[in-house]
């Protein structure tokens, strides 16, 4: 964000109680609380006992087993939940995933390393570039070229990654608001997402399935005036974001549906293997970008927002704040990005320039062999992990020295989060399943792979 943006957000104070970037930096707390403190009068209103629901008249019920999904209008993800319900209360549930299984890991074994990128686009398909980057870094680690990546390429990867993170969170929050009845935030947030996707479309040629990252860099340099356009979009976006926040944070209906629902303790979340915004909602400030910096993340100042209770509202608040933090990173990246090549100059890894391919036999052969045989990766195995939209996105790759992975496994955060869904909705009402499931942000493409 430029200084003008900062002053704008600072002066407008759109997000009630939500700390602005300046406040966060001023505080200098590594893990700040994302849960906003509401004005006392509002808190009193919210806690007004008069408004509490009248105790239900207990009707005799017996447990009933019903299906939710796999094709359910209210869940944004193809999942089947077999519920045992007692009236409106969930007594037991069996969460079944796999409806979007596409054999990603098996397909990867038949594809050259470069051909895997389009498959990674379809993992978490609301932040495809983060998957691109994660996979590329894994292969690069195995190739031993992580330290030699062109700086500009690393910055571009950070920029497109953070844009993707914002779109990921916007989708999650917008859809969750819509699922509990707030249609307006959804439309506004998707509008912002669309601005960002238009930027990415200009850069990569595709709105969703970008396949933009390459082993050793990225496919092409930023288009002209990309940085300026990005700044302008961020400026507009932060306003809309504040408007959306104001619709949600003080919204009685929204708070009632989110507060204290789907609560999980930090210990449990760690035990389940949670990472990302979901883990941070429980108060654990673990962020791969901060704790194990990759690319150029150690050059940026940003904070890791955490929640306190680990309920649905904390997951909303953490994501809202992370969008702001991503904007901070983008702002710094836009300032720092150096000029230079965007692809490593290493003919056995990166494609030669097209002009050379058409005019010299050497580059023609190089191009041909990279396409037909793939990039020869030395034998070995690697686990490389990055901060994806939903948490720690890990790729475990075994190479036998050929141009195709011998084995490729994805540590998909969605899959791990969905494991705990059954526990989260135990004892909740049927209607609580939808926001809880929504804020875990299970993305079928990533979960089922």
């Amino acid at each position: 964000m430029s200084t003008t943006t900062q002053s704008k957000t600072g002066s407008k104070k759109l997000a009630l109680g939500m700390p602005t970037p300046e406040e966060i930096t001023a505080g200098g707390i590594p893990g700040i609380s994302a849960r906003p403190k509401l004005p006392p009068d509002l808190m009193a209103k919210l806690n007004n006992e008069e408004l509490e629901e009248v105790e239900d008249i207990e009707l005799p019920t017996e447990p009933m087993t019903i299906n939710m999904g796999p094709s359910h209008p209210a869940t944004h993800g193809t999942v089947r939940i077999i519920l045992t319900i007692d009236g409106e209360t969930v007594r037991d549930s069996d969460v079944q995933v796999g409806y979007l299984h596409r054999c990603f890991e098996k397909e990867a074994e038949a594809a050259t390393y470069t051909q895997v990128f389009p498959y990674t686009d379809r993992l978490n398909y609301v932040s495809p570039l983060l998957n691109n980057v994660g996979f590329a870094l894994a292969v690069e680690k195995l190739l031993g070229i992580v330290d030699r990546l062109p700086e500009r390429a690393s910055y571009i990867r950070v920029i497109v990654g953070e844009i993707s993170r914002i779109t990921d969170h916007l989708t999650c929050l917008g859809a969750s608001a819509m699922e509990v009845g707030g249609f307006t935030p959804f439309l506004w947030m998707i509008k912002v997402r669309e601005w960002l996707w238009e930027l990415l479309e200009e850069l990569t040629g595709a709105r969703l399935t970008h396949s933009y990252v390459r082993i050793g860099g990225v496919a092409q340099d930023l288009p002209e005036h990309f940085i300026e356009k990005l700044r302008a979009v961020l400026e507009k976006s932060v306003e809309v974001l504040g408007e959306c926040e104001s619709l949600l944070v003080k919204n009685r209906i929204f708070r009632d549906r989110m507060d204290g629902v789907g609560t999980i303790s930090a210990e449990d979340a760690i035990a389940w293997g949670w990472t990302g915004p979901c883990l941070r909602s429980t108060g654990v400030p673990y962020d791969v970008r901060k704790d194990h910096p990759y690319l150029v993340y150690d050059r940026f100042e940003f904070d890791v927002p955490v929640g306190s209770v680990g309920d649905n509202y904390d997951r909303v608040a953490v994501r809202l704040e992370e969008i702001r933090q991503s904007m901070r990173i983008l702002d710094q990246a836009c300032k720092q990005i150096p000029a230079g090549p965007v692809l490593l100059d290493e003919p056995r890894i990166c494609m030669p320039p097209k002009n050379a391919v058409y005019n010299t036999i050497e580059s023609m052969i190089g191009h041909f062999k990279l396409i037909v045989d793939g990039i020869k990766v030395p034998p070995g195995e690697v686990y490389s992990y990055t901060e994806g939209g939903n948490g720690e996105l890990g790729f475990y790759i075994v190479s036998d020295g050929s141009g195709r992975p011998y084995r490729c496994h994805v540590r998909a955060p969605s899959f791990i989060h969905t494991q705990a869904l059954s526990k989260l909705i135990l004892g909740a009402g049927i209607a609580d399943i939808i926001p809880t499931f929504g804020l875990i942000n299970m993305i079928g493409g990533e979960c089922d792979r």
């Binding site: 290493e346 003919p347 890894i349 041909f368 062999k369 020295g401 050929s402």
Partner: protein, 602 residues
């Protein structure tokens, strides 16, 4: 990235291919191309210890036979050295200079393919000096190479591409325009030369000289104008000419039959045996989209070494053309046959066969030398059952006609049947030949005839003339791959699968039982001879669930057990046909190998 380590995938595929593709045991004694056999790899045939010397190869002690080719020692010890002109089946002229390595104590680098090893030799193949020279040689080779990969038939299996990517992978420093040479020079009936692509390795010249024994190719001109050529008024025309295409490391020599039909990396390879003659050259069937696109020789030092004849390469065309694709019944005696299902035709045949056998009729069984051992074995089993039911059985061995003019001392044999040895074995000692069959038909000695294979050693005219002889038969069952005048007179006409469509084995003229593998699915309703025989036997209550009716592999196992029961295991195939079965092996089942994983051929 530093130097790419040798790709284990490539070598493991090569090893797997070698393992799965040679159904016969390894050669007992090194054949003519003995220098090709990796030194020290076969302990049984290893020379006395005094001949073994120890050399230091990249700092590692390696033992090999004294005087062995240094390049072969390197390759057999997993040390990757690039080369173009060397070929295991040919002499080494050391013209390409690509295999230069450092021998400690020698001032200049030496070509590994032309250096015999001596005791205590110290060889370095990966020093900066060697790698630099290797890269510079590639740079030289590429200076005049055209930018043809997208339209070149060799692309994807090209040795030059592979060596460049493995060892060079940097751009050229030359900006001089490339020398142009003829792009499409017709060298002979099967081959076109693109002189620009040629890297002057002379492998093709040596194939003609040393394998075919015809000195037809030579190099003309000098320097960067040097090019491959034939003498004026002459052609590259010998029975082994297409081997030059296989050994060509680039796409300079291309087969007229294959060029511009299929990209190499889209092909699948299934190992099999050429059905063209009794030699049984080991081949790779290259197929894709359910069609065969070419046959190439597969290394087997006992049979065909690295080569095969041109005629054999075109045997795949018979799999495509003039096929019988559906069953027909009720033909013969001037009546047109009706197309029907296989099951109905089989039931029709079985019912009449049963009636004829129970009535004590004489039935002729034709063992075709074009079919697999398993089908022949099945027919011999059926013959026994038919005779116990009361029928008199006469057996005949037929096949395609011998062509003495094609025989030579290299690979081609006069017998154009791939399995004459097997057919004779299973037809029994009293079997007649095709002329006996015709005279028996003329004399009316047969009431029924069952041909498992429709080939007769007759010209088309003779076959047409002889066809009416079968009209006197009460029952004529004919299983055939191709349509023929004889077949059209059969009461039961059954479509049989061709050699590339079945699993099975052929016995060659050296009594080696060699494995055929199914490359493509049978055309139309066609089924293997073995399957058709098994179904007729089942319907006619001759055999219900014998092992040979289950699968080709079960038939093979039962056949080997029954043929070689009295023989010691590993009997020498040179002694008898049956002894060949004693050492027969079905081999491992595997999926077709995708050539995109093969990296390079030639």
């Amino acid at each position: 990235m530093a130097e790419t380590p040798p790709s284990p995938m490539k070598s493991s595929i090569a090893a797997a291919l070698r393992e799965t593709q040679s159904p016969s045991p390894p050669p007992v004694a090194p054949p003519a191309a003995a220098s090709a056999a990796p030194a020290g790899s076969a302990p049984s045939s290893a020379p006395p210890p005094s001949d073994i010397v120890t050399i230091k190869l990249d700092g590692r002690d390696v033992q090999a036979k004294k005087g062995a080719n240094l390049l072969e020692v390197c390759l057999s010890n997993g040390v990757d050295v690039s080369y173009f002109c060397y070929h295991p089946g040919l002499s080494s002229p050391a013209v390409c200079r690509q295999c230069l390595v450092e021998v400690v104590g020698q001032p200049k680098l030496v070509p590994a393919c032309f250096t015999p090893i001596a005791d205590k030799m110290e060889v370095n193949t990966a020093t900066p000096r060697v790698l630099g020279i290797r890269r510079q040689m590639l740079e030289f080779t590429l200076v005049n190479h055209p930018v043809d990969c997208p339209i070149c038939d060799k692309a994807g299996e090209c040795t030059l591409q592979k060596q460049y990517q493995d060892w060079d992978h940097v751009g050229s420093r030359s900006s001089i325009p490339k020398v142009h040479k003829p792009k499409m020079q017709d060298l002979g009936p099967h081959i076109v030369l693109d002189a620009e692509r040629c890297i002057l390795c002379t492998r093709c010249i040596r194939v003609c000289d040393e394998v075919a024994g015809e000195k037809q190719l030579t190099m003309a001109w000098r320097g960067d104008r040097e090019q491959l050529t034939v003498a004026p008024g002459h052609q590259l025309d010998n029975p082994y000419s297409l081997n030059t295409v296989d050994v060509c490391p680039v796409g300079a020599l291309t087969s007229k039959d294959f060029r511009f039909t299929m990209r190499a990396w889209e092909l699948f390879s299934t190992s099999s045996v050429c059905p063209g003659c009794a030699t049984g050259c080991n081949v790779e069937v290259h197929h894709a989209q359910g069609e065969i696109w070419r046959l190439v020789p597969r290394e087997n030092l006992q049979v065909n070494k690295y080569w095969m004849c041109d005629e054999g390469r075109f045997t795949y065309k018979n799999v495509r053309h003039k096929r019988l694709t559906s069953a027909r019944i009720g033909g013969g005696r001037g009546q047109p046959a009706q197309i029907t299902s296989i099951d109905k035709a089989v039931a029709f045949a079985a019912e009449r066969l049963d009636r004829l056998a129970s009535g004590g009729g004489t039935i002729g069984l034709v063992f075709s030398a074009q079919t697999t051992n398993e089908a022949l074995f099945a027919l011999s089993q059926v013959a026994q059952k038919l005779s116990t039911r009361g029928a008199t059985i006469r057996t005949y061995v037929t096949g395609t006609a011998a062509r003495p003019e094609r025989a030579d001392k290299i690979l081609r044999s006069a017998d154009t049947n791939p399995n004459a040895a097997g057919a004779k074995l299973f037809a029994g000692t009293g079997a007649g030949d095709a002329s006996a069959l015709l005279s028996d038909l003329k004399a009316g000695k047969l009431k029924g005839l069952w041909m498992a294979g429709g080939d007769l050693p007759l010209t088309e005219q003779a076959l047409f003339d002889a066809a009416p002889l079968v009209d006197g038969l009460e029952l004529f069952i004919c299983q055939a791959v191709h349509d023929s005048p004889l077949l059209r007179r059969a009461q039961v006409q059954l479509p049989a699968a061709a050699w590339a469509e079945v699993d099975g084995s052929f016995t060659n003229n050296k009594n080696l039982v060699q494995r055929l593998r199914k490359a493509v699915t049978p055309q139309g309703d066609a089924r293997s001879h073995l399957e058709l025989i098994g179904q007729i036997a089942k319907k006619a209550n001759l055999a219900q669930s014998e092992k040979w009716q289950v699968s080709a592999r079960q038939a093979f196992l039962q056949m080997v057990a029954s043929v070689s029961s009295s023989l010691p295991a590993g009997a020498d195939p040179a002694q008898s046909v049956a002894a060949g079965f004693a050492s027969a092996d079905w081999g491992r089942e595997y999926l077709p190998v995708q050539l995109r994983f093969a990296n390079s051929r030639g």
